[in-house]
């Protein structure tokens, strides 16, 4: 099943999710969409797994194991690009 989320909303949805889920534990961090979430310590290995699962359930995607990479999920920009390329034909 694919949930259709308008493209402009994807970034907001992802950003809101990251802020709500992770940033309250990093109140002094001003996160930019291109920032590396792993390098900044915003998420760790378990957070990364949680992040992928949430992207799947919120945006109705099925993410293949080979696609779970830092390049695809390491930042909000990366996730937006990944979702954009997989969300619709």
């Amino acid at each position: 099943m694919t949930t259709v989320v308008p493209g402009v909303q994807v970034r907001e949805e992802l950003r809101a999710f990251v802020v709500e889920s992770f940033l309250y534990l990093h109140p002094d961090l001003e996160l930019k969409d291109g920032d590396d979430l792993l390098a900044l310590g915003v998420i760790d290995s378990l957070g990364f797994v949680e992040l992928v699962e949430q992207v799947e359930s919120r945006l109705g995607l099925r993410v293949k194991d080979v696609d779970i990479t830092g390049e695809n999920f390491g930042s909000i920009d990366a996730m937006v690009a990944f979702v954009g390329s997989h969300r619709s034909p």
Partner: protein, 654 residues
Amino acid sequence: MCGIAGIVRAGPGRPVEEPALLRMAASLRHRGPDGFGLARGQAVGLVSTRLAILDLSHGWQPMRSQAGSVLVYNGEVYNHAELRAELSREGASFRTRTDTEVVHAMLDRRGLDALAAFNGQFALGLWEPDDQRLTLVRDRFGVRPLHYALTARGDLVFGSEVTAVLASGEVSAAPDLEGIDDVFTTWGPRPPRSAFRGIGQLRPGGVLVWERGRIVREGLWWRPDVACRDAEPTTDLGDLLRSSVGLRLQADVRVGTYLSGGLDSSLLTALAREVIGPDLRTFSLAFESAQYDESAAQQRVAGFLGTQHHVLHISARDIAAGFRDAVLHAATPLVRTGPVCMAQLARFAREHGVTVVATGEGADELFWGYDVFKEVLARRAYLRDPELTSAFDDLYPHLGHRARGPGWQHAFAAAGPADDPLFSHQVRMRATGSVAALYAPDVVAELDGQSSRERLRRSLPPEFTGWTDLQRTTWLELHTLLEPYLLAAQGDRAAMTHGVEGRYPFLDHRVFDHAMSLRPDRKLRGSQDKAVLRELAASVLPAEITNRRKQPYRAPEVAPFVGPDAPEWVQDSLTPTAVRAAGLFDPTRVEALMVRCGGGRALGQREAMAFVGVLSTQVWSEQHFGAGVVAPEQEARRPRVFLELDDERAEATA
């Protein structure tokens, strides 16, 4: 046995008052429900509460020797029969069958050199009136607890538990932010700290000597050498473990084992069954959620061995109901709910007439069973070859199919610098550190960069840098997880809440020496951990148990405290007003955490630890510094022994 406590004065004119000793005795009654004893002189007061295990009608403490020293002693020295025979050959005579008297005679005759001969778990205080000297000692691995405080006047107050030190009235309760920061880094306050300012703990293998108002010696009588020996062990692991189990099951009361269904407790139970026979009692926890439950494996082992098996079913409601009591006895904030369940299992064992239980703690540290050992090797391998795309794939299968692949791998690699001596523990410390991210600004300012990690780095022994990653991991597991958490909040304090004594056959120092002598591949071979233990287990257990992959012991964390069945006190403890009053966390951030947990949106173990960390801190704070403070009561029963130390003739027994 038991609980011990005492006060020694630096100078004359301030006698130790009996009510203070009676309060200390009452605070340790759960450790020694069978009775208590006191010793009192002008400059000293000693307390013992007893859980009678050997020679039930004798052996009351404090015990005075012919040499004039007075001993309070908690624990067991298992090779006491052998030591008794040795001393008897030297002309010593004994009045009881207890190990206490043997320990006392050994200390009188050999001083601290006696300690190396002790095989056991113990904490003791020895008062030598002629020298006005108090010696405190703790066993090698820190199985039995020992807390102390030095007052501004130079008096020393000690007790098995923090509550005994506080009950003396000589020390007031205040949080120790560095001790708390230890909890939110490595799960428990690390000795010499506790979670209370000014109240220290002897380190495992520690000794402290106080003389006339001054601490004249504070150090270690034993330290774990985790470096691999040059030679293969000359001992046989099966013989050693059988000996260790046999020694630890000698008691004049009914004994049992805790059976988790994993390799270590199953092996231990098989060896205990050889000693005790079909009357052996085994006790297990069962959870509603399959995520935590190991019932099938437990039943398989109990059925195979033929033990009297008892299962305690724990619900979310049980965890919520037992939480505050577990925090009270742990005397520290917690990041997990495991201690709650272990306390209930101890109560359950006691209800079945069992006062001594053997458990499998120590095997994962000594034989490299924990995932952290594989994790450190995988991280090093990945650093050497970033093309190794599957290095982390099988590390944490219980986290599901997402716990694999390049992204998962990258997250491990990003956990911290490769030259950090704490490299092996970076991932765990980062996850636990989620709690510290909620600190109030004042707490951050007061810690002033003195993070728990930094203090840990400074406390590493000089030889640490010469060790391999796996040896370093062993040392860190012994000093950051085993003693501060597994043996404390989840071990001694949980069991002693209900007067049950835990015994740990894998923590026999002979087993430790054997394990450290093994070639690394005898412990960790590819993905197979505890190889040598599995080989031994194969001779006494079915293959599906000996080949079973470790399932970390965990209990539900957030679920018991949210939703319609959650008790009211949870919300009350976490209101912004309550959080502000306790002063340790930022109310706004706690509120954000609560919104996520309350809405069922908390993600994984980082936030689960944050939730349990905050809730337990609030409960702990209220119990010791807030509205929940209860004035310590005095022991109302008559002491079984009352030694008047200033009058040799006035020894009275009730």
